[in-house]
Amino acid sequence: MSAIDPRLWVPVALACAAAPVQGAQYLTLEQAQRALFPEADAFAPAPLGGQRAWAASRGGALLGHVMVDEVIGKHELITYALGVGADGAVRSVEIMDYRESRGGEVRDPRWRAQFKGKRSDSPLRLEEDIQNISGATLSCRHLTEGVRRLLALHAAELKK
């Protein structure tokens, strides 16, 4: 077997250079709102207990809330948006910003789909009702805790 030619990595680097550069932002606020409530025709700012939030409505009828929050992944912040329907059930979670070089698997729609239908009284514990992604444990755990906190806040504020 011949030795490996170090020049081999040059085409690899070129292939990378040709790839489009993409920042850490995956979704703007507007895109996240639209992804969570595609049928809404208005998003009015409606902070819930100090948390950035918007009331999504269609023809004046409230559909639910979009809450935006940040949690630490391993050591960098993850910005995400939670969509909660007027019935108090989670519609979906959207990752808006992810800055770490590892653990980006939390953007996998199948992982995020686990939150669908969760309510403030759901356990929302990693490895219990939310399955983990190996190698992205801290991001998974902190996002799960974030959603739990937002749902508690949502429930408490709407009870007032």
Partner: protein, 414 residues
């Protein structure tokens, strides 16, 4: 902005008062009040919107306000008590690892881990200070990242994810210690990313092993690793790994191959000897209904093992290079108690590893049976916090029973 808003509000109120004082009918008054209410609401809404807009202009204010530099770490304190009176039982600050990361921009970041093993490193002590990783990563997109520097080779489950709360048992499993030499890092370049739904690839060119340094067949090819320390790099290696992940599931494998003769740089007698090393593995991890199941198979071959042995043999290590190595393990854990942060999970692991040596009857060199071993481990991981674990287990070695031991460990990561 605030001042202007309160100015508007004040004038709206003054205006309202002026109207209120004028001799109007009650009906008209109530209409005006409604209008004032509407105006006040409008002002409140505008105020809120402008505040939120300011917040959104800097959505990462929290991250940037702190620092683009972060510190993290992990560590473990282990106690090994051997049944055999000939073996010494020991307590050890096995690892203390501190990591630094820095984000230069959204695309470019730096990661590093500095490890201190066995608490003290000095000429008179057994400890060591080592870089576990230090590399730069540039993200073109999720699907394409380039890394360069000293990084972990993506073989097995443990090598890249080796923080004590992430695995069962006080000691790392034998297969991912003796067959895959965890924590295994090389200097080089790699291309990695997430593609499709759940696929993760990582491939690159790195430094490789140096068979001229092999001196301990019981740990496979570990003694030939170079760890980024003035690595002989005449012979480079390539690696590739592909993993598939879904919530609760991981299936994947990796391959690493390259020559290790290094043009005789470590031992002139190895000049012209290729001594090609190939290591590969397949692994799976699945969590369901409170169970954590995990299995791994790893194997490898070293070409020219006879030549390597012929030139590296000494009286102490007549048999330095293994010819082939393989091992597997299966592990099952069950979460018997979970409440809040507390998590108690007993586990059992069965392992087998075979490090085949190059026998030479003429020189009286025969396979050491201790390198064909079967190990049973039974224990419990007790997490007081998701990132802090207390572990204990009993290990039984089928061939070399002097290794039978009882372990207690305390580990953390942040």
């Amino acid at each position: 902005m605030e001042a202007r808003e309160s100015f508007v509000k004040k004038h709206v109120k003054l205006l309202a008062m002026a109207f209120a004082l004028s001799p109007l009918t009650v009906a008209a008054q109530s209409t005006i009040e409604q209008k004032i209410d509407a105006l006040q609401q409008e002002v409140e809404r505008l105020k809120q919107e402008s505040r939120l807009r300011k917040e959104q202009a800097a959505p990462a204010a929290g991250a940037d306000a702190g620092s683009a530099t972060s510190i993290f770490g992990y560590g473990e304190f282990n106690y090994n008590r051997y049944r055999d009176s000939e073996r010494t039982s020991k307590a050890d600050l096995r690892r203390f690892v501190i990591g630094f990361g820095h984000r230069f921009s959204d695309e470019l970041s730096f990661q590093s881990e500095l490890e201190i093993e066995h608490a003290i490193a000095s000429a008179a002590d057994r400890g060591e200070v080592a870089m576990e990783q230090a590399y730069l990563n540039y993200r073109f997109s999720d699907a394409a990242n380039v890394k360069g520097g000293l990084f972990l080779i993506p073989l097995g489950i443990l090598n890249e994810t080796h923080e004590p709360p992430t695995y069962y048992g006080v000691e790392r499993n034998e297969v991912e210690t003796r067959i895959i030499p965890t924590t295994w890092r090389e200097l080089g370049f790699g291309l990695h990313g997430l593609v499709g739904q759940g696929f993760k690839y990582d491939a690159g060119i790195t430094t490789g092993f140096n068979s001229g340094k092999l001196d301990d067949p019981s740990t496979g090819i570990r003694s030939g690793h170079q760890e980024g320390q003035l690595a002989d790099a005449k012979d480079l290696s390539v690696y590739g790994a592909l993993n598939y992940q879904a919530p609760g599931l991981l299936v994947g494998g990796g391959l690493f191959t390259g020559n290790t003769g290094q043009n005789g740089q470590a031992n002139p007698l190895l000049k012209g000897v290729a001594a090609r090393l190939t290591l590969w593995d397949v692994h799976a991890k699945y969590s369901i209904a409170g169970f954590d199941l995990q299995a791994l198979y790893a194997a490898g071959t070293l070409g020219d093992a006879d030549k390597v042995n012929a030139v590296t043999s000494t009286a102490a290590t007549p048999f330095a290079a293994p010819k082939s190595l393989k091992g597997w393990y299966g592990q099952a854990a069950y979460h018997v108690y979970r409440r809040g942060d507390l998590d108690v999970a007993p586990f059992v692991r069965l392992e087998r590893f075979e490090i085949r040596q190059q026998e030479d009857a003429a020189l009286g060199l025969f396979q050491d049976p201790k390198n064909l071993e079967r190990v049973q481990t039974i224990g419990v991981n007790f997490k007081v916090h998701p990132q802090v674990v207390l572990k204990t287990d009993i290990q039984h070695y089928k061939v070399d029973s002097t290794r039978n031991r009882f372990n207690i460990g305390l580990g953390y990561m942040f």
